[in-house]
């Protein structure tokens, strides 16, 4: 058995990482197609506010972050659907507002700031068995919801008006996609980190899009790319003693650059 697997924290991190790599590129494919890839970034910042509040209150941060982030997702989608303000403006407002709250909460919750940085950049040492189980359940539910609504979500991603005409419940599905994105984002915080999560949502999808001939292929390739990035990144993080999120995202970036170079020929 390789040395890395002797450490139970590392085994937990790898399992959690693989679960994240299964779910995030699938959601990412739909979000990138809708030009809504920044939603994960905004939601991650909101979730950090929830984490900060949790640390301040002395409650498990995730339990505070999930409802706050889902509320943020629903608010974003509502703003988008009502077209009160444009999509990217509402994303920007939520993003900076969320981070500002997060910083203030974290400052107030003095003494736990070291823990807070693991939510910013990810950490391999902090994933508990309970984290892994909850993540497994959520990823299972997420992929099931997406599989059952695959056609409708694809229709919405490429032609929202057409999907409405065809009779799909477009508004409801948009809220559902935003909400499950929120939950998966929160649960991925410990592995990837809030500041880096959107990279895992976008980069594997863009890498896959260089070679895929169909949407389904894009999803499958993106999962493979994300798995490689997460596993390689975690291994690098372990041996180099660096933040997991940074190592994972740099691996994903290297794969993306490689894809661009290969595609050029």
């Amino acid at each position: 058995m390789p040395e890395i697997l002797h450490y139970s924290f590392m085994v937990r991190a790898l399992i959690a990482g693989i679960l994240v790599a299964l779910a995030i590129p699938v959601m990412g494919s739909f979000l990138v197609a809708r030009r809504y890839s920044l939603i994960a970034d905004s939601l991650a910042h909101v979730s950090l506010a929830g984490v900060g509040a949790g640390l301040l209150l002395g409650v498990t941060p995730i339990y505070v972050a999930v409802p706050i982030t889902v509320a943020g997702a629903v608010l974003l989608e509502w703003l988008r659907q009502k077209q009160r303000i444009s999509g990217e403006v509402s994303l920007a407002i939520l993003m900076s507002g969320g981070l500002a709250l997060a910083v203030v909460f974290a400052n107030l919750a003095h003494g736990v700031n070291t823990d807070f940085s693991s939510y910013l950049f990810g950490s391999i040492a902090t994933t508990t068995t309970q984290d892994v189980i909850v993540l497994g359940v959520v990823v299972g539910i997420t992929l099931t919801i997406i599989a059952f609504n695959y056609r409708a979500l694809l229709y919405i991603a490429f032609d929202e008006a057409g999907a409405r005409i065809a009779g799909y419940k477009v508004s409801l599905l948009n809220y559902v996609l935003a909400a499950i994105t929120a939950v998966v984002v929160v649960l991925s915080l410990r592995i990837i980190g809030g500041l880096l999560i959107s990279a895992l949502l976008v980069m594997p999808v863009v890498t896959a899009a260089q070679f895929a001939r169909s949407f389904l292929q894009t999803i499958l390739y993106a999962i493979i790319v994300a798995l490689v990035a997460v596993v390689a990144g975690l291994i690098v993080a372990f041996y180099a003693g660096i933040a997991a999120g940074g190592a994972i995202v740099l691996t994903a970036l290297a794969l993306l650059i490689g894809a661009f170079i290969l595609k050029k020929d």
């Binding site: 694809l154 229709y155 409405r164 005409i165 065809a166 899009a209 169909s214 949407f215």
Partner: protein
């Protein structure tokens, strides 16, 4: 009326204080090929949205026959430059609700079976528009609604596109098409509806051009159009 598939009854659409569509009534009968024309800002697209159920009218009612199934072909630009890969087959399967068999048959109907596995955004404008027809056909419609379908497509592809529409109409399809291409509309359709907020002409294409019927604003625009085309139709 027994054979009316869509019945617009005194439709008005207001955006704030601005009137987009004013007291429009007309029926779409089975087998008709209606060309919906009018100057820019005449409310054509708004009226289409009302028919499609994407826009609630401020006044009036839309009745659709229980047998009417609408296939919609958007302006090509409406899907934008698609950033993500989607195959032509996947686009058509959106219309067939996932049935690959129906989708392939629809692609064959528009002579596009050979591009099924190609990326949609690698296709030419004309090919993309034919894929859209296939997508609309895959939902097994009896009414096709098209919004400026040939915008940005080269002339040969336009001709092929219109040939397909003509064939479909001969097979019994009811068609409503918004177009700025008045000459083509007059050659193709069985009925012209000219809109300028309200309906200013509704009748056969043969009568549309006679001085008696042609609305004055259109005479100017129409002449201009001819002028643009080098006056070949004048």
């Amino acid at each position: 009326m027994s054979n009316s598939l869509i019945d617009l009854d005194n439709i008005s659409v207001l955006f704030g204080a601005e009137t987009a569509v004013k007291q429009v009534s007309f029926c779409v009968h089975a087998g008709e090929f209606i060309g919906l024309i009018g100057p820019n800002g005449a409310g054509k697209s708004t009226l289409l949205k009302v028919i499609l159920g994407l826009q609630m009218p401020s006044k009036g009612r839309v009745r659709k026959d229980a047998t009417s199934v609408i296939g919609y072909i958007p302006q090509r630009g409406d899907l934008g430059p698609i950033a993500m890969p989607i195959s032509a087959l996947e686009v058509v399967m959106l219309g067939s609700r996932g049935s690959k068999q129906v989708a392939l048959r629809s692609l064959e109907a528009v002579h596009m079976a050979d591009v099924a596995k190609k990326r949609f955004n690698d296709l030419s404008g004309g090919q993309q528009q034919r894929v859209f027809i296939a997508k609309a056909l895959a939902s097994d419609p009896n009414v096709l609604i098209l919004d400026e379908p040939t915008t940005g497509i080269d002339e040969r592809s336009q001709t092929e596109f219109y040939d397909i529409l003509r064939d479909l109409q001969h097979q019994g399809m009811t068609i409503v098409m918004v177009s700025h291409d008045v000459d083509t509309v007059l050659r193709l359709v069985t009925r012209v509806v000219c809109l300028n907020q309200t309906i200013v002409y509704d009748g056969p294409p043969q009568h549309f051009e006679s001085d008696k019927y042609l609305p004055s604003f259109f005479t100017a625009q129409h002449r201009q159009l001819h002028h643009h085309h080098g006056g070949q139709h004048a």
